[in-house]
Amino acid sequence: MKNRRFLLFVLTVLVLFVASSAFGAASTTLTVGQGAEPVELDPQNITDNPSEEVCFQIYEGLVGFDVEDGRLEVAPRLADSWEVSEDGRVWTFHLKKGVVFHSGAPFNAEAVKKNFDRLLTGKYKRSSLFTPFLSEVKVVDDATVQFLLSMSFGPFLHTMCHTAAIIIDPTSIDSGVEIKNNPSGTGPFKFKSWQKGDRITLEAFDKYREGKPAMETVVFMSIPDDNARTMMLETGEIDIAERISAFEVERLKKDQNIALTIQPGMRVMYIAMNNLDPTLKDPKVRQAINYAVNREAICRNILKGYARPIDSPMAYAVNGYAPVEGYKYDPQKARALLAEAGWKDTDGDRIPKKGGKRLELNLWSPNGRYPMDLKTAEAVQGYLHEIGIDAKLSTMDWAAFLAATSVKPEENKSQLFLMGWSPSTGDSDWVLRPLFHTKQWIPEGGNRSFYSDTEVDRYVDIGMTENDPEKRKAAYLEAQKLIIADAPWLTLYVLDNVNGRRSNVKGLVESPLELIFVKGVTKE
């Protein structure tokens, strides 16, 4: 009898324990499910999106992006105002007063200088974003700071919105503390703890310059499995789930407890072509490939409508984007262009040949790096087969893929490869310069297709050095037209960002840069 009572007691305790922990967290705790774990929290040293997202809750820059109608607008943060000299080489920022870091240290011009001096040492992964144009940061007075540039730099303000330019607590820099694990900034939330592999916990900063945020605690959980992330949102264990799979959207739309935000992002997916390859160096072959692929069908059937075909290498939300006409799906025209390039069907089998050889190309794709990446590559393979090109598809993990596409020109074996690009500064410069400028050929930069055109280089240089937004836009429009005519890529689509949140979560700001900002969030 005694044993039975004891067993009953144990069972009751267990059930209560289980039940209490199964249900949602307090209304002042916000839990965000991220698709990958942040790598570190030193903003000058990070290259991954999840780390950037957490950093933006802890730190602030002099300027930042406001999101308006899915577009990014540069807006004041720690600076009240700024001006630029006529030659575009001196930027003066007037700083907000009375702002303090999480440690209690005051924010001032010295703090800004200390941050950029650190970055300009060149020891950090993001140093190279500023070292090409920034010479020195000068303290004018406690609330005024000047950036002295080695040349006029058109995308300066957009680059100042990047994580590399957000301001770290100078006392952390001086003390030699590991900033990556002990971040301190002026942001709305301060760092509390990091259980590696699981979660980062932040707590509201009561001396935040705009007032203490409504959420006392914000937890960023690493939930790599798409299904698990979605289910945890459905059960209410997390309040926000990032990157909802396109396959889950229709089901989640029916759930009244869940609200979805679907907006075009900044990531353009494309098949890059090796412009030095003996077959692909002929622009007619590259144009034929562009005509051969039905991008609308890929967006509709593979991405379930949560992607939009695009002709430009830049997404609509990128500063400097202008609509340009590209290639419409036309397999007949594709075959005609191949014939003009010497790839003709001579024996009636509908397979174009040159010198008796069939047109064969490698097509490489990562698997799981981007939504439906391999499926998209398979569809492209199918479309190319329709015009007689035998594309041999192979997939590899991201590290192997990066290595294979980063080989110097003379040893590079790539032909066609699927990639995606989202410019972290939100500006055209960070698309056209790293990906199309001749000086940016791999391994010097990110131009993996070895595209080169002196006119494009000239327009990209104008866009980089010109401060007048209209002149920049005009230069980028010309560059885009030339690039599209040359067809160094097969541009595919812009991915939609799909985030889910519990319906009681209000005030969330979602950026097309695949980032969320939680400072204004409330839970009803």
């Binding site: 039940a19 790598v39 992964k125 592999g197 699981d198 059960t235 590290a399 990066l402």
Partner: protein
């Protein structure tokens, strides 16, 4: 016995050296440059070179291997991804995996042994057939699918248990059931067959003829002798759970060593991968040693002597 244990522990040294060398060679042979992954897509050659320099990735391979061994034994081995001592990251993850694997093996043993014994004792009855079907189900169900089904039922539909993460005892229930089901099936099959063998022995007939009640015959005389092959399987299963929990850890967002290993492989975090493999191999050896020692406890006739 002491000498036997000491000898087995000594054997660990060449085993672990071998594991570390194989792990080092495999990861070095795989395509992909950790510096490039860390620097990101838009990195310049100078950025990548800076990282290679910082972590000694441009040193000759034997130098890198020696640095790895020194780092491993001095505790100064640094992860490329986290830029922090490997042990500081591996040990908490390993603790989490040990918690999950231990709970799973406890569940698997309780379920597996009970099912196996019932199945053998009630051979060719509906109980036996049902247990066989359940065991087959356990063995054949892919863990990621089974895990999702459990989540759908107990978390989404019934809202009884949390579907992911780690924190309370409740968080442990679904992942350990998902992970332990397959082992339970294997243990049940093994227990059934060894029980059937034992139940045919003469001493069982004698015990029954002496008038002992059925539960004593089965529990004290048959099960104990039938357990030796089962313990071998349990040991092997536990070893596999330690290294093979990666799918469960991913589905249930459990911050264990399997998930850490996969992330480290994908980001080519060489020191982390090598150190994790060495530690998991060492654990496997320890589990096997524990199983060997358990034989002597189960069967007093078994004695170990060092040679």
């Amino acid at each position: 016995m002491g000498r036997f244990v000491a000898q087995r522990l000594l054997m660990l040294v060449p085993v672990l050296l071998g594991v570390s060398l194989v792990a080092f060679c495999i990861i070095q042979l795989s395509p992909g440059d950790p510096a490039q992954v860390m620097a990101g897509m838009e990195a310049s050659e100078a950025d990548i070179e800076m990282i290679r320099e910082k972590f000694g990735l441009n040193e000759p391979l034997p130098v890198q291997y020696w640095a790895f061994l020194k780092g491993l034994f001095s505790g100064n081995l640094v992860s490329l991804r986290y830029e922090a001592p490997v042990m500081e990251i591996v040990l908490p993850h390993l603790k989490n995996t040990l918690i999950l694997a231990s709970m799973s093996i406890v569940l698997a043993v309780l379920l597996g042994v009970a099912t196996g014994v019932c199945s053998a004792v009630m051979r060719k009855t509906w109980v036996d057939y049902l247990a066989t079907v359940l065991a087959l189900f356990g063995v054949s169900m892919p863990v990621f699918w089974w895990g999702l089904l459990l989540m759908l039922l107990f978390s989404v539909k019934l809202a009884w248990l949390p579907s992911g993460g780690m924190g309370t005892f409740a968080h442990l229930i679904l992942p350990s059931v998902a992970l332990g089901t397959s082992s339970a099936g294997i243990i049940a099959r093994m227990t059934r067959s060894s029980m059937l063998d034992v139940l045919k022995q003469d001493y069982i007939t004698t015990a029954t003829a002496k008038g002992l009640v059925r539960s004593v015959v089965v529990g004290r005389h048959a099960l104990r002798n039938a357990l030796i092959p089962t313990v071998t399987v349990i040991g092997l299963q536990f070893g596999q759970l330690l290294a093979g929990a990666v799918l469960t850890e991913t589905v249930f967002s459990w911050p264990g060593v399997g998930r850490l290993l996969v992330t480290s492989i994908l980001s080519r975090d060489f020191p982390m991968v090598q150190a994790t493999l060495v530690i998991v191999a060492a654990l496997f050896v320890f589990v096997n040693l524990a199983v060997d020692m358990l034989y002597a406890v189960l069967d007093p006739r078994i004695r170990y002597h060092g040679r």
